[in-house]
């Protein structure tokens, strides 16, 4: 089966689904908590991802934001098929990918690739850059004929802004930003439709971070890529994303266009998160609506009943403990928001 044959539903002439490269429905991933060495007993479950439904459209960048432990990286790994979902469905280019066997998974990964956070640990120190970037061609031998590989790798290095003559160098001979470019070249090798970027710039220095962000934007235009951009840095996500999903304890609490999420957030958690992001402008000091949250994120092994944010929410009432608010459009929220009391509050601009 060729790649082309594996996406028959890709171009139906009707319906919105034609535009969606990824459709995720009720995706759940629980990790078991075990005790005992010889006889492992399951004593509980960490609900890393607990019912996510969203779509990624062609050529779009979907930002996924949230604090550490909210399940955003697990979500990325599920999309890549690096973890098996507990339940739910992932459709990549119309094909269900959550139940594939390893051969089918390998084929699927021609269409989806990942760029990892740490450019120091995600590259094998004993392989040359040429081996690293060319490894996808070993796995998918039919993509580029053996003779053409060196040339293909050099072209990739050129595309990501590295010197093609450095093909025989080792990762330690490159700086952090350059290593991240190697990771990007590797992800591009198979010409995928979707790239999952898991915190791709957070390990980089400020001046280099901008270079890599610009590279992602350039490549998107050039190769018509769709990105899932997972990051905790809300400023970077605002810059690069078309739509943004905000996650809290394994759930999406609010999703909308970049403008909706940043200018008109309706979920209290989104508001708190945005108001906590410092702005590089000393004139705004003390003039912003700062919501300082109390306490820490509850354990995902034992999340609160009802709305998961209620333990830290200033709007919480009885209903929040009893009834879980679904992610939907509401009377005071034009985009989906999972709060009983969703209401727009501008938190990023200066207030009088």
């Amino acid at each position: 089966m060729t790649t082309e044959a594996s996406r028959p539903v890709e171009q139906p002439a009707l319906g919105e689904s034609a535009e969606n490269v990824i459709e995720v429905t009720d995706l759940v991933k629980y990790f078991p908590l075990t005790r005992g060495i010889l006889f492992k007993r399951t004593i509980g479950q960490v609900r890393a991802v607990d019912g996510i439904s969203l779509q990624l459209r062609r050529g779009e960048t979907l930002g996924v934001v949230g604090e550490s432990g909210c399940g955003k990286s697990t979500f990325g790994r599920l999309l890549m098929g690096l973890e098996r979902p507990t339940s739910g469905s992932i459709r990549l280019l119309g094909q269900e990918t959550s139940r594939l066997n390893s051969t089918e998974l390998r084929r699927m990964r021609r269409n989806i690739q990942i760029v990892l956070q740490d450019p120091y640990s995600s590259l094998d120190p004993r392989m040359t850059v040429g081996d690293i970037v060319g490894e996808p061609f070993d796995v998918h031998a039919d993509v580029v004929p053996r003779k053409g590989r060196r040339k293909a790798v050099q072209d990739l290095l050129d595309v990501v802004g590295l010197n093609p003559d450095h093909i025989n160098r080792y990762p330690h001979q490159f700086s952090g930003g350059q290593r991240q470019r190697i990771g990007v070249a590797r992800a591009l090798a198979l010409k995928p439709e979707v790239i999952v970027c898991d915190e791709p710039v957070s390990a980089l220095d400020v001046s280099v971070q901008a270079q890599v962000v610009n590279l992602f934007e350039k490549l998107q235009d050039e190769f018509d890529l769709s990105y899932i951009f997972i990051a905790h840095d809300l400023s970077v996500v605002r810059h690069i994303a078309d739509r943004v999903a905000v996650m809290y304890l394994g759930k999406v609490v609010e999703i909308g266009t970049e403008k909706e999420i940043y200018e008109e957030p309706t979920h209290p958690y989104t508001q708190a998160l945005l108001s906590a992001v410092p702005v590089p402008d000393p004139e705004l000091r003390g003039h912003r609506d700062q919501i300082v949250l109390e306490g820490d994120v509850p354990s995902p092994a034992n999340p609160p009943s009802g709305c998961r944010f209620r333990t830290r929410c200033w709007k919480a009432e009885e209903i929040c403990a009893e009834q879980e608010p679904p992610l939907e459009e509401r009377s005071d929220s034009a985009h989906p928001s999972a709060c009983h009391f969703a209401k727009v509050r501008d938190v990023i601009h200066a207030v009088e």
């Binding site: 930003g177 400020v206 971070q209 270079q211 962000v213 605002r238 410092p278 590089p280 820490d296």
Partner: protein, 350 residues
């Protein structure tokens, strides 16, 4: 047996600081032309290359720069906790209330480090000892630097945890570091720094490892405490947004050199050095959707082999021939600020 006798039996000379004559009128901290070198296999790396600044009471000085620019080494030199060798303070003075810390005996300087200058580290998990309880580690400061007994030290530890907003401090004092969350651990670090009410706190990337909402909590705590105690705070960070929120004046460092020093408002509105300008233009902002980011081209230099002339010239958009040959000094710029660029006038007006 009196407590001071017990203390001296424990080998603690708590009176050491009283024998030093501090000049109450001198600035809190004055760093003058500090040079720090590291001897490595590849040659000598000049990690800090002539940095000077002054810190007054109640003031927040920000040291801004990317990894490897020498900002942490500057802090370590002030604290006297550099790894010597390979490091070496190659020149310059560090004056606390007019007294040169480097000429001080180590046993006296040891008391400076808790009583007068304290430090908060970036990674609280590795800065705390995993095999002792938090209370024991907090109490250690009192046991080593004052005449407090064990039970007094422990009571003080509870007080401190309470001060930094750790709920149920009485019970938590017996917990180990791994039982705390990241934000709580950073609060413990702050408590530790505050223990003896120092005059200066040096915070080295105190919130880099934390999530934004927790970062906001910790920064607020830090600046509130600073106000209450009228401490001088040296905040070291690479995050221009965090810096904008708390600093009074800023020293921007690049490859071991202070390249710009100015009031926080001036730096952000009209930077006088191409590097500060480049940094500001390369960061996305949460409160507006910008165009393409104006990244600074190239990479920071290798410290063992810095470029001739101005260290920033290979990446600079203002660079001319002169920049390749001659290293600019820190020029005085109107408005009580300094810039290490020949063309600062051009940079400001651009």
């Amino acid at each position: 047996m009196s407590e001071s006798v017990i203390a001296s039996q424990r080998g603690i000379d708590v009176a050491a600081l009283q024998r030093v004559h501090f000049d109450r009128d001198a600035p809190l901290l004055e760093v003058d032309d500090l040079h720090v070198e590291f001897h490595t296999r590849d040659g000598t790396a000049k990690a800090v290359n002539g940095v000077s600044f002054t810190l007054h009471e109640g003031e927040t000085l920000g040291i801004l720069g990317e990894s490897g620019c020498g900002k942490s080494v500057t802090a370590q030199a002030i604290m006297g906790i550099l790894d010597i060798p390979p490091a070496r303070v190659a020149g310059g003075k560090i004056l606390f209330r007019g007294v040169d810390l480097q000429k001080m005996e180590e046993k006296t300087r040891r008391h400076i480090r808790a009583n007068k200058i304290a430090m908060i580290f970036q990674d609280a998990l590795s800065a705390l000892n995993p095999v002792f309880t938090v209370g024991w580690q907090l109490g250690e400061i009192y046991r080593k630097h004052t005449e407090a007994s064990r039970s007094q030290a422990k009571a003080k530890a509870v007080e401190l945890l309470d001060l930094v907003g750790i709920p149920a401090a009485k019970e938590r004092v017996n917990s180990f570091p791994h039982q705390f969350s990241g934000g709580m651990r950073q609060r413990v670090m702050i408590a530790m720094a505050l223990a003896l009410e120092p005059d200066i706190i040096i915070a080295d990337e105190p919130t880099t490892a934390l999530d934004v909402t927790v970062q906001a909590q910790v920064m607020k705590l830090l600046s509130d405490l600073q106000q209450d105690y009228r401490m001088g705070l040296i905040l070291i960070t690479h995050d221009m947004a965090v810096m904008a929120d708390v600093a009074d004046k800023i020293c921007v460092m690049y490859a071991g050199n202070a390249v710009e020093q100015a009031d926080v408002h001036q730096i952000y509105s009209r930077p006088a050095h191409p590097y500060s300008k480049g940094l500001l233009e390369s960061i996305p902002r949460v409160d507006m959707k910008g165009q393409e980011l104006a990244a600074i081209k190239g990479l920071p230099p290798v410290l063992v082999d810095p470029p001739p002339g101005c260290p920033f010239h290979p990446r600079c958009t203002f660079a001319r021939e002169r920049c390749q040959e001659e290293k600019p000094e820190l020029y005085d710029v109107p408005g009580d600020r300094r810039s290490a660029c020949f063309f600062w006038e051009e940079v400001i007006s651009s």
